[in-house]
Symmetry: C2
């Protein structure tokens, strides 16, 4: 739980009561490598925090498995488009190593917003940061070549190569494994 509150501190400080209230709606869970945390068609009602391990959000486009994002230690894993619309997600969350997560029940969390103004501010800021990241990702996908994106990925998250199969990295970059292999082969 310490790691979660340490993560929160980067965004907003919380009163003791607020921390207690959050702790009460959290569960620690362990999942084995390659298992699914949440599946396609399920409506997201949980905000996950990765204590240990790697996760990816993925979906299928015409039978092809496509990775939308990776998450590493000390970060959130959330399918925002389902969490904030209340609609079933077309995406699933899978864990790529034996992992430990903290699961925060989002309906309970949102109920805390009125009582604990600092909790609402905290998550507002977390989601604002997620918006900034996502805007930057649009820029990176739209206007950089696959090679540029590959290079910045391994710069920003060097251990992704050791921890994530290349086929997932390829679809995350928007290319086929064959194409990624070519890019890697050039050097």
């Amino acid at each position: 739980m310490t790691s979660l509150f340490h993560y929160f501190k980067k965004y907003n400080s919380l009163s003791k009561e607020a921390e207690k209230a959050i702790a009460e709606i959290c569960k620690v869970i362990a999942i084995k490598k390659n298992h699914e945390l949440q599946s396609i068609g399920h409506t997201c009602k949980t905000i996950y925090f990765l204590k240990k391990g790697v996760a990816r959000i993925y979906y299928f486009k015409e039978d092809i498995d496509i990775t939308e994002s990776f998450s590493f230690e000390n970060n959130m894993v959330v399918r925002f488009e389902s969490l904030f619309t209340g609609r079933p997600s077309k995406k699933a969350i899978q864990v790529l190593e034996d992992s430990e997560l903290i699961a925060i029940n989002s309906s309970e969390l949102f109920k805390l917003y009125d009582k604990h103004h600092d909790i609402e501010s905290l998550f507002r800021k977390i989601f604002e940061a997620a918006l900034v990241d996502t805007v930057n990702r649009v820029e990176s996908i739209q206007f950089h070549t696959a090679e540029e994106r590959y290079n910045s990925l391994i710069k920003e998250a060097p251990d992704v190569l050791k921890r994530v199969p290349l086929k997932y990295i390829a679809s995350y970059l928007g290319i086929t494994p064959v194409s990624l292999s070519r890019i890697r082969g050039q050097k």
Copy 2:
């Protein structure tokens, strides 16, 4: 001002005092076609609402003008990555028709969050919706062909063709004007 509060109502209801407080930090401005609302290097401290007209956010990649997004009537225009980081933006906002906007001073707005809980909730929800839109845009850019993206653009915003030069639409779709012309020519 009515149009702005009508827009707000879709997300969260506001007390009379909150509406008054927001009205006090708003300015209505008019801008002529093709003029810049905010320029590259400027740090975003204003949230714009388009009453009338069309706007785009754009930047340069190696001397090439690239459109990141369009906004039409009754929507926000914000460079989130600057607003939420406090860093100068690499992007500019330009108006593509004679336009009228409501400018909300963001520093003043953020100060209102503590006094008016309903204002914080309102903007939290607005930005959560923006996050959902941006996540969906990532999906659309990454995993659909230019032709698919062109078709869904004209389906979702049919008058974009009448109101926006094709060269801007092309870069928004992530392709050159030549390529867009080819796609359009096929039919």
